[in-house]
């Protein structure tokens, strides 16, 4: 469904791309975690896939359509994005935020049909965010805000959901909750979910597949078991101080 062909992602056409060129694909219903160290290009890759910045080379195709050629509103009907950045907005309510998910489908007045409102309500309950209705978005805690943003993404009824390090501010139960919610959504709606994360343990636990950025532009792709087996996790993350143990599936301090 999602296909990256010789994709190079970056900011400068004359320099080598930050990530790529890579060939990857993803199937409907797949929950994919993108891992890599800081600066490996996770956000750059995700922004390029989401069509928020142009590909330096190659292309991203969703259901056979090249993303760079899509008009903004069409793209927004297919791809929903959730970011880690905290946005503040005067007087914005939870309901307003979720309704924004329907915007790619409404007319110029942005009038919502009963159908649209149903989708919004359903999205809120899927994300266990129904209790926040009527509250100011700025009043919510980090975890609550992320749930509302995910509800907004669900309300967008996309084919592809791109979420950039959205679990960064959450505690462990919050992270587990959000990641299993996303996995359920991928399964239930047959959509492809791409989540970049620093949370190695949980990602290895919950992801169907991992895209592992090695920091030199290369990406290894596979199931968690395959990547651990091949020692790819260690190659991407090991430092003199910590090494990844394939046996125990976690990092260990290098002993004296």
């Amino acid at each position: 469904m999602l296909r990256l062909t010789k994709l190079g992602a970056g900011y400068d056409r004359n320099a080598p791309p930050v990530v790529g060129p890579i060939d990857l694909d993803a199937a409907p219903g797949e929950f994919i975690c993108i891992l890599g160290r800081n600066g490996a290009g996770k956000s750059t890759l995700m922004r390029t896939i989401a069509g928020l910045q142009p590909a330096m080379s190659g292309e991203v195709e969703l259901d056979g359509q090249a993303i760079d050629n899509m008009r903004g509103a069409n793209r927004a009907q297919l791809i929903a994005v959730v970011l880690t950045e905290r946005t503040f907005s005067p007087g914005l309510r939870v309901d307003d935020v979720v309704m924004l998910g329907r915007q790619p489908f409404t007319g110029w007045q942005d009038a919502l049909t009963a159908e649209d409102l149903n989708i919004c309500e359903d999205a809120l309950s899927q994300a266990s965010a129904s209790d926040f209705r009527g509250r100011f978005f700025d009043d919510l805690s980090d975890g609550e805000r992320q749930r509302v943003m995910i509800a907004r993404a669900i309300a967008q009824t996309p084919r592809l959901m791109v979420l950039d390090e959205i679990t960064a501010f959450l505690d462990l139960p919050g992270r587990v909750e959000v990641m299993s919610l996303l996995r359920r959504q991928a399964r239930a709606r047959g959509l492809c979910v791409l989540l970049s994360s620093h949370d190695l343990d949980l990602s290895l636990e919950l992801a169907d597949r991992i895209w592992l950025l090695d920091g030199a532009g290369g990406v290894s792709c596979g199931t968690p078991a395959e990547l651990i087996e091949a020692g790819a996790i260690g190659r991407a993350f090991d430092t003199p101080e910590v090494t990844f143990s394939s046996v125990r599936r976690r990092f260990e301090l290098a002993g004296p």
Binding site: L52, A76, I79, P90, G91, D96, L100
Partner: protein, 343 residues
């Protein structure tokens, strides 16, 4: 949500109509509501009463309504565009920029000679609006660029300082312009709705109507900008063209107001907050009628108080707006949940 907006709009509209009638009837000379209404309908036998209502009071009331409405809508646009709860044409220095634009034009004409001055005098309506528009637009572009570098509250302080600077320069320029014989437009460092002649009302109203149309047109993408640029982009919005459109709408709304009424303070800043509270939402389109009607109501209230039958004429519009507006802004800054995150 729709019902709330409709009810609130109708309530505001009734309030505005009632206050307009009051403003037409009462002042230095008190008339009955019946007299005022019959004068409005053109059925008034008494020539003097008819003159007071139609020639003196009606242009002032219409000016207050148009200017207040324009500032309210511009406030909604600017608060979304700057993503800043205390942004408005006055607080970010756009009005002062517009005044400076007019002052520079008048001064240039004064030094260019009598032909330029008489041109300005004959075409005073359009020419000062255009001059103000240039000043407003330049200030707005500058503040937008600055707004990307500094926080919302800092931007407010900078905007107010720019306002002071531009107003200082304006008063100096107009002093010399008047000495050089170009007294086209000397008398407005204070805001007032009373200086607009009936003949100039179209010059005030036409750009405002254009601005309202643009505001309605940009309301949907502006709503998505409330979540920030990246989200707006991900929802299919072309952010840079949206920014120019919203800016053009703001200039069209604000320039004629500053050209004809001077730097009307606070209305554009607080009307959007009332509108959001009434609507229970921050979606832009429903806010537009509420902010327009609320702004018009505030403006007319201020004007009614200024023109109440005092012993002598002593009150300035901005003094009233400041007494009402400044404490409200303080309350917004300190308590309102809508500025959480900016504190």
């Amino acid at each position: 949500m729709g019902a709330r907006v409709t009810t609130s709009s109708l309530t505001l509209l009734v309030g505005l109509a009632a206050l307009s009638l009051y403003a037409l009837a009462f002042g230095q000379i008190s008339l009955s509501f019946g007299d005022a209404l019959s004068a409005l309908a053109g059925l008034q036998g008494d020539e003097l009463v008819s003159q007071i209502v139609l020639d003196i009071r009606l242009p002032r009331v219409l000016t207050a309504i148009i200017a207040g409405g324009a500032l309210g809508i511009a406030g909604v646009l600017m608060q979304a565009l700057f993503r800043n709860p205390v942004a408005d044409a006055w607080s970010l220095g756009l009005l002062a920029g517009g005044q400076l634009g007019v002052a520079l034009t008048v001064t240039a004409a004064a030094f260019a000679g009598p032909a330029a001055v008489s041109f300005l005098t004959v075409f005073s309506g359009p020419s000062i609006t255009v001059a103000a528009a240039i000043g407003v637009a330049l200030t707005a572009v500058f503040m937008l660029a600055l707004g990307r570098k500094i926080g919302a509250i800092t931007l407010l302080v900078v905007g107010l300082m720019i306002g002071f600077t531009a107003q200082g320069v304006t008063s100096v320029l107009l002093h010399f312009a008047a000495r050089a014989g170009g007294r086209v437009y000397g008398g407005w460092s204070d805001a007032s709705f009373a200086g607009v002649e009936a003949a100039n009302l179209p010059w005030l109203a036409a750009p405002v109507l254009g601005g309202i149309a643009l505001a309605v047109f940009t309301a949907k993408p502006l709503t998505s900008l409330l979540l920030g640029e990246t989200y707006a982009k991900s929802l299919g919005v072309k952010v840079s063209s949206l920014r120019w459109l919203a800016l053009a709408a703001t200039v069209a709304l604000v320039a004629p107001v500053v050209a004809f009424c001077g730097p009307v303070s606070f209305i554009g800043l607080i009307a959007p907050h009332f509108a959001r509270a009434l609507a229970g939402s921050a979606r832009i389109l429903p806010l537009l009628p509420l902010a327009a009607l609320g702004g018009a109501l505030l403006a007319l209230m201020g004007d009614v108080i200024v023109h109440a039958p005092w012993e002598q004429h002593f009150l300035h519009l901005n003094a009233i707006l400041a007494m009402v507006g400044a404490p409200i802004v303080i309350l917004i800054l300190v308590y309102s949940p809508t500025v959480k995150g900016w504190r």
